[in-house]
């Protein structure tokens, strides 16, 4: 919500107060007028948060929906606002019919029903998920108007399931095992190749998100979670893991999700999402007011934990260290905050983060100097917002 929205609401509340004192005959005491309880809570009708949907073809379900980052607080994305990127729609799956097949270079091929997977010792962890095509408009020089449009293919939730390592140990990997081909039960049976080291490190097979079963759009009933790796590899509706000695070079790891460089060569099998940050408020389309404004935003890295976020309010001349909200979790978003007095000057505000590997988020110019503007994926340049003299914030 913008600072201006906030003010308008305060004004409206004041108006409502005046109204109730003058027209007191029609106003019921609050204790009599509450609504009934209901099995599922709904947002207040005053809150208009929603994903922005972009279908790419006339066929349903190819495209994306973006998280309204500018309207969210804290670090957890509500499940129904988690971003989506599908390539062949959302399948309707009966969990009683769903089973995971583990086969290939294993001593014993196995299938697991959902009930069987839920019997394993369970584990929960928070991590971000981000499409590696996020923020690509900015790379190409067409920054869209709001942070939802530019950065909305990012979300962060708590996932619950079983350690993939534990499940693989049941089938017993053969020594030649180097890759896993993870395949989903969507119409296109989308598949990605996962290095076995990642599968044995912190990968999860999840059935829960934010305290409840996965939503269909997030892979119900079973999803692969690879903390810190590009979103597409976190295969939804997972029903097959083929253990092999080489990657499949599937369509989504050759035609897409490869990074074309100015030389004409493209980097392939690029998995880790590197450090990024963005100011979510004040951001594009919002309004700053004279005096105190809180600058706040998100930072995240697939290389571990964020250690520092710096904010500049003077077009990059000076940088101040922002406060980071504890707890700072591995491969999860961190909320940063910086108090700011705005005196009516036109300026550019931006944030830059550093992670525990020492990685510093590059500027757009630094990125382009090495990667060009056609990489298509894994763009993580610093995001600038321009504050106009009238306080209006625009993407630049």
């Amino acid at each position: 919500m913008s600072v201006k929205d906030e003010d308008r609401r305060r004004f409206l509340a004041l108006g409502a107060g005046l109204l109730s004192t003058t027209a007191c005959t029609t106003t019921k005491p609050a204790s009599e007028s509450g609504a009934h309880m209901r099995p599922h809570g709904l947002r207040s009708p005053h809150e208009k948060v929603a994903r922005v949907i972009r279908e790419l073809t006339a066929s349903p379900g190819t495209g994306s929906s973006r998280t309204p980052l500018q309207h969210l607080y804290g670090t957890i994305t509500p499940s129904d606002l988690h971003y989506e990127r599908h390539h062949a729609g959302v399948p309707a799956i009966d969990p009683l019919q769903h089973e995971l097949l583990v086969h290939g270079l294993v001593e014993q091929p196995l299938t697991f029903s959902m009930a069987a997977l839920r019997r394993f010792p369970s584990v929960s962890r928070t991590c971000f998920l981000e499409c590696s095509g996020n923020v690509i408009g900015d790379l190409r020089g067409n920054p869209p108007p709001t942070v939802q449009d530019s950065h909305g293919l990012l979300s962060c939730t708590e996932w619950t399931g079983v350690s993939l390592r534990m499940v693989l140990e049941e089938a017993r990997l053969k020594p030649e095992a180097k890759w896993l081909i993870a395949e989903g039960a969507d119409a296109s049976r989308m598949a990605r190749s996962i290095p076995v080291e990642k599968a044995l490190d912190d990968a999860l097979l999840v059935y829960g998100q934010n305290g409840e079963a996965l939503r269909p759009e997030q892979g119900y009933p079973l999803r692969l979670i690879l903390p810190g790796f590009e979103g597409n590899m976190n295969v939804k509706w997972l029903d097959r893991l083929l253990v092999t000695d080489q990657p499949a070079m599937s369509v989504k790891e050759t035609a897409n999700y490869t990074e074309l460089l100015p030389s004409g060569k493209a980097e392939v099998l690029t998995f880790v999402m590197e450090a990024r940050s963005v100011i979510t408020s004040p951001s594009g389309g919002q309004q700053v007011l004279n005096g105190f404004n809180e600058i706040t935003g998100l930072a995240w890295t697939g290389l571990g934990k964020i250690t520092k976020v710096e904010v500049s309010t003077d077009n990059g001349k000076t940088w101040q260290v922002a406060a980071l909200q504890e707890p700072i979790l591995d491969k999860s978003v961190v909320r940063f905050r910086l108090p700011w007095e705005w005196k009516g000057e036109e300026t550019i505000i931006q944030s830059r983060c550093t992670d525990e590997s020492g990685y510093v988020q590059p500027s757009r110019d630094e990125f382009i100097a090495l990667r060009g503007i056609n990489a298509g994926y894994h763009y993580n340049g610093i995001k600038c917002w321009q504050v106009k003299a009238d306080g209006h914030v625009v993407a630049v």
Binding site: L56, T57, A58, S59, A88, L101, H103, G104, Q108, P109, L110, T111, F112, A116, L117, R119, F120, V167, E169, E170, A171, I181, E183, A187, S188, R189, M190, A191, D201, R240, L242, T244, Q246, A248, M249, S250, V251, T254, A255, E259, L260, S263, G264, K265, A266, E267, V268, L269, E274, L303, E356, S357, G358, Y359, V360, P362, E366, F367, L370, R371
Partner: protein
């Protein structure tokens, strides 16, 4: 050895000793293979079958052209083109297509087999997939109209951008964590 290392070693030993939970249902390798769609660049996973562009033309016209257009031009921004852009990758306006970008003919087969036609995936026979794959490659000038594609010859088709891919360099990354 640091405490962290010895703790890890202990955890690994503990895990090695743990007996299996036994929650999985054993299946035979043959049974598992029936569900296996994956085709690798070396041709592993390709079923027997054959087809050429001539045989594929009527199938393409009936089942693909509706979306990808008569000669793979695509339809506006709605449906991806399947042709064009060969030689454009190092220019300021690169055009990625099966012909200009994809490194392996096996990926074309695999993708059509598992995901196309978009609205009726996995409805084509193996011979039909070889034949429409031949059409897509023929429209790109990569095979001739009567060149037979089968499980032996398909992996040998050399795609124009076969050598266009390199491992990640991660130029801004100082050192890897994990």
């Amino acid at each position: 050895m640091s405490w962290r290392c010895s703790f890890l070693l202990f955890a690994v030993l503990l895990q090695a000793q743990q007996k299996p939970f036994g929650f999985g249902k054993p299946v035979s390798a043959e049974e598992a293979r029936k569900r296996d769609l994956t085709v690798f660049p070396d041709g592993r996973g390709l079923p027997p079958g054959r087809g050429d562009a001539k045989a594929g033309a009527p199938i393409y016209a009936a089942k693909c052209a509706e979306c990808h257009n008569d000669r793979g031009e695509g339809r506006e921004n709605q449906y991806p083109g399947l042709v064009g852009g060969i030689g454009s990758l190092a220019t300021p306006k690169p055009k990625k297509s099966v012909g200009s970008y994809w490194p392996y003919a096996t990926t074309v087969w695999d993708h059509i087999h598992r995901a196309m036609p978009f609205d009726h995936p996995r409805s084509l026979t193996a011979d039909e997939v070889y034949a429409v794959t031949a059409v897509v490659l023929y429209l790109n000038g990569i095979v001739t109209e009567t060149q037979e594609l089968n499980e032996k010859t398909l992996p040998q088709v050399r795609m124009p951008n076969r050598d266009g891919f390199i491992p990640e360099t991660r130029p801004f990354q100082k050192r890897k964590v994990r």
